[in-house]
């Protein structure tokens, strides 16, 4: 089933009423989210097992420098991966995050089964053979693919189908990290881009289901354990601030390296691209062979060792540097795999290095190297992947330690702001541009300043009548506005505090006592001329008609209540009915802040 086919919903084929179809889809969305979570969780567990098994099988149970297989295995695996990517699984290369976004924004939530299978097999082979890549990004795409596959079987509407990819992505990421909140936030921050109650419920359900499954197998222990962080001396935050700066600069280097090498390799002829993965594997193998096997694979054991202070300062810096090189090589070569684990690795090494340096320089300060390594992970996550909120929660969830919150927030914020200043385009956006796609930038969306009604607001110049007054009094009051250029619309304040924005013709027809004539406004040479006449004749009219209140003649309908802080776009639908919209104060019911016309709104948009 392709995307166009999938868009034809069953409910429309079978003639049931739209409301029932919508209820059915809403219920299915929630129910299927649980299934998506469970199946994604099971697949991610299998994926992690496959990686671990392949690692032992290919690299041996204890890889160490000067083992020849460190050179051979990633090279040969790279060649196999290159052939499979070229001829069997062409969509398996690239970032899973961007492919999920593409599914959401371009292909109506469609991710092919072949892509999922390719991502599973090739990523496991790549990481297991020692390519410097992580399992989280493929896990995210496996989850998205599962969701896409399941949702297609139910013939849901196109809008629902689109939502399933991010729902599955959250499940895959949650299972991979054993961290539901981070996964939910990441999908909201990076894939969907906004908070919507309908999606949020499904994302939460799928992420939790996936984590429950993952914990069933792996246990509920946090990924990393560090001692409680007691900030005895607030000056220690300075060291964390320095870590934020270092993380921001390191992420710039990492981004630049990827931004330079990846397009360069992609520009080469297709046949030449076949040698990229084996060449990258060989170079990564060389780094491992000549002394740093820790940089091969995802590297979580090495992160744990760094947290336990098992590496000296120099080695920590070397590991960070060579991990950047190895990951740039592996990822740019088109080998399937993710960037999350390498990012955490580099951050942990840099954090550990700052911690070790601080301990040497200021041994009286309390922070353990583990806490610096952990904060470092969050720092690079915030700066490189540009997901500041996710980075904070990710650190809390993978360590299960809330005491680290202050340093994490400080460092991540500094790193994020620095990274934004130095490299305005986020890494995922760079990748999408390199791939020839133009997906929405979630960071830009977050930063976008939406216009509000207050931006187009004008002072009240239209005539204002009191709805509680009689027609005769209203006619007299209206007559005062004769000749006013702003009297094409008249505001009537009703006794319930609400407003009624009437056209001149509407008011005049009421005040004259006849039905509105569409030609009347055009025919009248001067506003109020008829009313003047009516005011003069009012004594001759029957008394009951003269005592009728204006608002009674206006009926029960009122203009919508609008406030200055509402989005400017929210006013647009109302201009079909109303010539002018009164904008009122939130605190005082009915108190006018100003008015807004269609012309005002359009003018304001044109000024952007």
């Amino acid at each position: 089933m392709n995307s166009s086919q999938s868009s034809a919903s069953t409910s429309s084929v079978l003639s049931i009423d739209p409301r029932a179809a919508s209820i059915r889809e809403e219920r299915l969305l929630l129910l299927l989210s649980i299934f998506v979570g469970i199946i994604s969780g099971l697949l991610v567990v299998s994926f992690r097992m496959a990686i671990d098994w392949l690692t032992v099988l290919l690299q041996g149970s204890s890889p160490a420098p000067h083992q020849l297989r460190l050179l051979e295995v990633p090279t040969i695996a790279g060649l196999i991966i290159a052939l499979l990517v070229r001829f069997v699984f062409p969509a398996a290369r690239g970032s899973g995050v961007n492919q999920t976004k593409a599914a959401l924004y371009i292909s109506n939530g469609y991710i092919s089964t072949r892509t999922v299978l390719g991502k599973f097999l090739l990523s496991a082979l790549a990481i297991g053979s020692g390519h410097s890549l992580g399992p989280e990004d493929p896990s995210l795409q496996i989850g998205a693919g599962v969701a896409s596959l399941i949702s297609r079987r139910f013939g849901l509407s196109r809008a629902r189908l689109r939502l399933f990819a991010p729902i599955g992505a959250a499940a895959g990421l949650a299972a991979a990290f054993n961290a539901p909140i981070s996964a939910i936030l990441f999908v909201i921050e990076e894939v969907i881009g906004n908070w919507s109650a309908a999606v949020l419920g499904s994302v939460v359900l799928s992420a939790i289901s996936a984590v429950v499954v993952a914990r069933w197998f792996w246990g509920a222990e946090p990924m990393f354990r560090i001692p409680v962080v007691n900030l005895v001396d607030p000056r220690e935050l300075m060291a964390y601030a320095v870590l934020g700066v270092i993380g921001g600069v390191a992420s710039l280097g990492f981004t630049k390296a990827l931004g330079w090498l990846r397009p360069m390799l992609r520009r080469q002829p297709a046949n030449w691209q076949l040698i990229h993965p084996p060449a990258a594997g060989f170079l990564v193998g060389c780094i491992g062979y000549f002394g740093l096997p820790q940089i091969m694979g995802a590297g979580y054991e090495t992160i744990d060792q760094a947290m336990h202070g098992q590496f000296a300062l120099k080695l920590l810096l070397l590991l960070a540097l060579f991990k950047i090189i190895a990951t740039t090589l592996s990822f740019s070569s088109g080998t399937p795999g993710g960037m999350f684990a390498p990012t955490l690795f580099i951050g942990a090494m840099l954090g550990g290095a700052v911690g070790a340096f601080e301990h040497n320089l200021l041994p009286h300060l309390t922070g353990s190297i583990a806490s610096y390594a952990l904060v470092g992970m969050g720092v690079l996550f915030a700066a490189f992947l540009r997901a500041p909120l996710t980075s904070v929660f990710m650190v809390l969830e993978v360590s299960g330690n809330y005491s680290i919150i202050l340093p994490v927030i400080l460092s991540n914020t500094i790193a994020y702001l620095l990274s934004r200043a130095l490299q305005p385009v986020p890494i995922f956006e760079i990748f999408t541009h390199q791939d020839g796609l133009y997906l929405p930038s979630m960071e830009e969306q977050r930063e976008e300043s939406n216009l509000h009604l207050e931006d187009a607001l004008h002072g009240v110049t239209a005539p204002v009548l009191q709805g509680s007054e009689s027609l005769a009094s209203s006619a007299s009051a209206y007559a005062q506005y004769a000749g006013s250029p702003d009297s094409t619309a008249i505001l009537v304040q009703c006794s319930d505090g609400l407003w009624y924005a009437a056209t001149r013709a509407e008011v005049e027809s009421i005040l004259i006592g006849s039905a509105p004539d569409p030609a009347a406004p055009a025919a009248a040479s001067q506003p109020g001329e008829d009313i003047k006449a009516m005011a003069g004749d009012s004594a001759a009219s029957p008394e009951s008609d003269a005592n009728t209140k204006l608002e009674q003649r206006l009926g029960s309908e009122r203009t919508p209540v609008l406030f200055p802080d509402l989005p400017l776009a929210s006013a647009l639908p109302h201009f079909r009915r109303w010539p002018l919209l009164p904008v009122t104060n939130r605190a005082v019911r009915g108190a006018l802040e100003g008015t807004i016309s269609l012309e005002d709104v359009l003018k304001r948009y044109q000024q952007r």
Partner: protein, 394 residues
């Protein structure tokens, strides 16, 4: 119209049936996938556990063979297959310590301590590392945490006593004798007597400047093995330091008899000590002696002290211009120096004055004319009050 409603109901029913079947199919697929994953995971876990066991055994062997670097590598591998296994983590932390990587080891133990703050083994390891780093307060605190901690393996009572003994040793090294004695008293009281244990506590009390309690443990050791020369020697030595010269002489003599013709340095030292003890017994003017015998000893002591003074003056060591020496010389011209045995017999106060004169002379000559030897040294020993448990932080 009725036909239309009927069609819609049929469509709706067929949709419900279709959804139900699809959901059941997903449920079935999920169940099958779960069972398959469970089976694979079981196999995977078993394989990893085997690998972890294999590498930890290698690490253990390397550690036992004093190859800490190798052990570190092996244990790290073991932990990568069985993360969080406490026994491996403890071994790794120990290996790091043995490899001289104290900081890494300490950090590792700190991490472990965070997860199990009451673990005796971890606290003990932290105490040892803190002691090596010279953090006395931290070391003592960790030792105490270890004593009151939980001990999963072996006999908790014995392990606690062993840690307490280790703490006492550390405190002795730190010259904190009073606290060391307290720990030793508690540790000594928690356990059944045996020769080795009594000897160990005897030595420790002796090192903690508590010869009285040392003597008690040595006596217990002698009671366990009456013919043991080491116990007799140790007990004799302590008795000598407590000025129990008769006991010292008896014990040291017995030890010498048992050792027989063995000519070791220890034997020679013990023989000297035994000889000194015997001579001290001969010289000691104990108040319990018969008066005539005591006076004879006082006169002999006075005579030894006078000879020491004269010899010192001849060698120019005692400057007559010194007011203290002038005062001493004046006392030697006084009645306490010249009284004969009859006079001394009649005046018990004079006996003490004569004895005091002799002791004061020996003390002054010790500072003016160099270290005393022979009987002069023994007189100085008699001049000192018998050793009790010394004051804090001697």
């Amino acid at each position: 119209m009725a036909l239309k409603i009927s069609d819609s109901a049929i469509d709706r029913r067929s949709l419900v049936i279709r959804d139900t079947i699809s959901l059941l199919a997903i449920l079935l697929i999920t169940s099958v996938l779960f069972v398959c994953t469970l089976f694979l995971f079981h196999s995977f876990s078993t394989h990893r556990a085997e690998l972890a066991e294999r590498w930890s055994d290698r690490g253990r062997r390397a550690l036992a063979a004093n190859k800490p670097q190798e052990a570190i590598s092996d244990l790290r591998t073991a932990l990568s297959y069985a993360p969080g296994t406490r026994s491996y983590e403890l071994l790794l932390a120990q290996a790091l310590g043995h490899a001289g990587r104290q900081d890494e080891s300490y950090n590792y133990f700190l991490g472990l301590h965070e997860t199990a703050p009451g673990d005796g083994d971890i606290n003990l390891a932290l105490a040892r590392l803190a002691a090596q780093k010279g953090n006395r307060d931290e070391a003592v605190q960790d030792y105490r945490a270890a004593i009151y901690g939980t001990w999963g393996r072996g006999n908790g009572v014995e392990r606690r006593a062993a840690v307490r003994t280790e703490l006492a040793r550390y405190l002795i090294e730190q010259q904190d004798f009073q606290n060391a004695r307290m720990e030793l008293l508690i540790a000594g009281g928690n356990g059944s007597d045996s020769y080795d244990r009594d000897m160990k506590f005897g030595h420790l009390f002796e090192a903690a400047k508590d010869p009285k309690n040392a003597a008690i443990y040595y006596q217990k050791a002698i009671a366990s093995r009456p013919g043991d020369a080491s116990a007799l020697e140790a007990a004799g030595r302590v008795a000598y330091s407590l000025a129990e010269y008769v006991t010292a002489h008896r014990l040291l003599d017995r030890a010498a008899d048992i050792r027989g013709q063995h000519h070791s340095t220890e034997a020679a030292t013990d023989a000297d000590l035994a000889h000194n003890a015997a001579r001290l017994v001969e010289l000691n003017p104990a108040p319990s002696l018969p008066p005539r015998q005591r006076i004879a000893r006082i006169i002999a002591i006075r005579s030894i002290a006078k000879k020491r003074l004269d010899a010192c003056e001849r060698n120019g060591g005692a400057q007559s211009s010194s007011p203290k020496l002038q005062s001493l010389n004046a006392r030697w011209a006084g009645p306490e120096a010249t009284s004969n045995s009859t006079t001394l017999l009649r005046d018990p106060a004079r006996q003490d004055e004569a004895l005091q004169l002799a002791f004061d002379t020996e003390r002054m000559m010790q500072s003016n004319c160099g270290a005393a030897t022979g009987d002069d040294a023994l007189l100085l020993r008699l001049a000192e009050p018998p050793k009790e448990t010394r004051s804090t932080n001697e």
